[in-house]
């Protein structure tokens, strides 16, 4: 066969939101619920365009609010459908009761959450606080760095959520504005290739679903021991999701030529004495700074958190052990702890990592750009702490400290 006539992936310059929508279409969902919110609206608009053009064969439910958006996909998922919804910020917290329910029902819902500052101080701005507000909901939470990664991560999300060993809802996060509206050159895989990638999900034993006339129930009361058993099963599934995510990432790499390291991505960490940990769109800028610092002789490495729930305890411990100092750059805050949430969680790993200077940096709240000078300053602070100088445990970069 003529190699040139083989179907090839298409390359297009599209936004992060469009990339999410392209990925969803490739995964052939049965039921999609849609409700607009800045900066997510383009995701649902793109899906509606696909539907109007006849290239997305799904039940489209234009709900009257995000709470219904989540309940629609939870219900549809429990009836056996593959589902999708997207939200952000105010929408995410408006669906909070349903988010907890979806997790408790172990419904493999795939949801995009375009990170934006939540209610309290009105800011139509980027920030990961919305994701943090739902970190204890029992969902899997993953974070994308680039437009291509958004597309790839949505496809991987279906493979992970619907795995019979996992069966959990998954929230694909990416920074609002910085990634939602950023247009990058993206490789859009062939439909057949995505069908092949997701096909093993159909070879699994069927998951229990609600059916007419079946006498089966969903959401029965679990009291005492029954409750505890279900919670422990949920925790065990989250635990399995860590390794499964690494596996899915590797399988994706084998099929599409792109893999991202699984739960975390380590950049120039092999011989690094100090480490910067961060996530999302700030990672690209951080890589540039790391390269420059390396050129100047600073032995610095970068760890990108791709999976926030379940927290990548083992791989992070391994990546952070034996360093001289560690800094964590958060795009959100941990109320009551006076630090960043990712810093807070890494601090909980101190017994495993060992006691070294651990620095929290808070930056990028409400669309404040995380610039190269900001990250240079972060690396300098970590370096100074490594050399034994006094250091500040928490630094609010954006407020000019």
């Amino acid at each position: 066969m003529d190699a040139l006539k083989q179907p090839r992936p298409e390359t297009r310059v599209i936004t992060g939101n469009a990339a999410a929508a392209y990925a969803v279409r490739l995964c052939r969902p049965d039921v999609v619920s849609l409700y607009p919110i800045t900066p997510q609206s383009e995701v649902i608009e793109t899906l509606e365009r696909f539907h109007a053009n006849g290239t997305l064969d799904a039940e489209m439910v234009q709900v009257e609010g995000e709470n219904s958006a989540q309940n629609v996909v939870c219900g549809a998922s429990m009836a056996g459908a593959r589902v999708f919804t997207a939200t952000s910020s105010y929408g995410l917290v408006f669906m909070y009761d349903a988010i907890l329910q979806t997790a408790g029902y172990r419904a493999p819902v795939v949801m995009v959450n375009v990170n934006r500052e939540p209610p309290g101080i009105h800011a139509v701005c980027s920030g990961q606080q919305d994701m943090i507000a739902t970190r204890d909901s029992g969902w899997i939470q993953v974070i994308a760095e680039s437009v291509q990664e958004i597309l790839d991560l949505v496809i991987m999300a279906y493979r992970l959520a619907e795995d019979r060993e996992v069966l959990l809802p998954i929230m694909v996060n990416y920074d609002g504005f910085y990634l939602s509206f950023l247009a990058e050159s993206v490789e859009i895989p062939e439909q057949e290739a995505v069908d092949r990638f997701l096909a093993p999900l159909n070879d699994q034993p069927p998951r229990p679903v609600l059916e007419p006339g079946s006498s089966k129930g969903c959401g029965a009361h679990g009291l005492g021991a029954g409750y505890v058993e279900l919670r422990r099963k949920h925790m065990a599934a989250l635990d399995r999701a860590r390794g499964k995510f690494d596996e899915v990432d590797a399988l994706f790499g084998a099929d599409f030529g792109r893999s991202y390291g699984g739960q975390i991505d380590c950049y120039r960490t092999d011989d690094a004495e100090i480490i910067l940990v961060t996530s999302g769109s700030a990672v690209g800028t951080a890589r540039t700074v790391i390269d420059a610092k390396r050129a100047a002789g600073v032995k610095v490495g970068l760890v990108k958190i791709r999976m926030f729930r379940p927290f990548p305890i083992e791989v992070l411990t391994k990546a952070l052990q034996g360093r001289k100092a560690i800094g964590v750059l958060d795009r959100s805050i941990a109320f009551g702890w006076d630090c960043g949430p990712m810093y807070q969680e890494i601090r909980a790993l101190t017994p495993e990592i060992g006691t070294v200077p651990l620095l929290s940096f808070i930056d990028g709240l409400a669309n404040m750009d995380i610039t190269k000078p900001h990250i240079e300053r972060v690396v300098d602070d970590i370096q100074r702490a490594a050399l034994g100088h006094d250091y500040q445990s928490v630094t609010w970069i954006a407020s000019g400290e």
Binding site: E59, V63, S68, G75, A98, P212, S215, C218, H221
Partner: protein, 316 residues
């Protein structure tokens, strides 16, 4: 015992049994209060709609039976329990999933007035506007009975509840109830009807229509369902209360079939509302002025209903 066996055993059965599709799907000894019309209601809905109906419910009086937590008392319907805010939207998800899979399904939301009229109202209104192919039955017991008889927007003017108490300054609820079936009728959906348990033929006919009309769109049934405990009535008085509500025009029986309003039961000489309130402990404190205010509201609502019905002549 099957329905056919029942029919041969008794020579003369109530007419309503001709609507039954199956034997009782509920075990005896369910966890409803003694004399509760909700039990009567849910068993009746099940028998008329058929055993393939999928119930969607929430934490409520019906939850212990519909959703489990009541070991040993059970039913054979598929059911889906969700949050109070999520009934109509969950039902939407189920229905759309079955539609996509080419499966036929009768989805029946079964909630109290607190869910339908208060906290779950937005999703209900949304599902009606989208004309989802589901049946929504609100069993109206005029308050949050499961949580201890608190007021809801279904609680009538003057009623005493645990959050609208009667005392030296409290006079019961200071505002009237939301006219919910009328609100739903204004959503212009295929079928809206009221029903109650003293008029089962009427209810059965409406459930029959509901089963057909939900194939084309949203169906809303508002069912007057007295609560002995909350309304402070004897356990054997429930059906009498239902009948009094109809005879006083407090709860008239009507339907809007594709927007055509019609009284399905005509009270020739409406009784004064006092014929109902005198049966209920929750109204025993009402003075003359309060009674007059409640009567005025009943009359006003009935007048609006009559005007809507007047535009359509019967048998047309």
């Amino acid at each position: 015992m099957t329905t056919t066996e029942t029919v041969t055993r008794f020579k003369k059965l109530p007419k309503v049994t001709q609507y039954y599709k199956n034997e009782d799907q509920f075990t005896p000894g369910v966890a409803f209060c003694s004399g509760c019309t909700l039990e009567h209601n849910v068993r009746f809905v099940s028998r008329v709609l058929g055993k393939d109906a999928i119930f969607v419910g929430t934490p409520s009086c019906s939850a212990p039976v519909l959703n489990g937590a009541n070991d040993g008392a059970w039913h054979r319907h598929a059911h889906y329990a969700c949050t109070m805010t999520g009934v109509a939207s969950s039902a939407t998800g189920l229905r759309r999933a079955f539609l996509k899979a080419g499966k036929d399904a009768t989805i029946v939301c079964f909630t109290g007035d607190g869910c339908a009229m208060d906290v779950g109202f937005q999703p209900l209104s949304g599902a009606a506007e989208r004309n989802e192919k589901i049946i929504y039955i609100c069993y109206d017991n005029e308050g949050y009975m499961n949580t201890g008889i608190q007021r809801s927007s279904g609680t009538p003017l003057g009623a005493s509840t645990s959050t609208t108490q009667v005392g030296s300054t409290g006079q019961g609820k200071s505002t009237g109830s939301k006219n919910m079936p009328m609100v739903m009728a204004m959503h212009d959906i295929p079928f809206v009807a009221t029903a109650t348990l003293s008029h089962l033929d009427d209810y059965a006919k409406k459930l029959d229509k509901a089963r057909e009309f939900c194939k084309e769109g949203f169906v809303y049934l508002h069912v007057f369902t007295p609560c002995n405990v909350g309304w402070k009535t004897p356990t054997d008085a429930s059906i009498e209360v239902c009948r009094a509500a109809v005879k006083t025009n407090y709860f008239p029986l009507w339907e809007a079939d594709h927007g055509r309003f019609r009284m399905t039961y005509k009270t020739k000489k409406p009784h004064p509302v006092e014929d109902l309130t005198s049966l209920l402990g929750k109204f025993k404190h009402l003075d003359g002025a309060q009674l007059a205010a409640l009567q005025a509201q009943v009359d006003k609502r009935f007048h609006v209903l009559q005007s809507l019905c007047a535009g359509f002549t019967e048998g047309e």
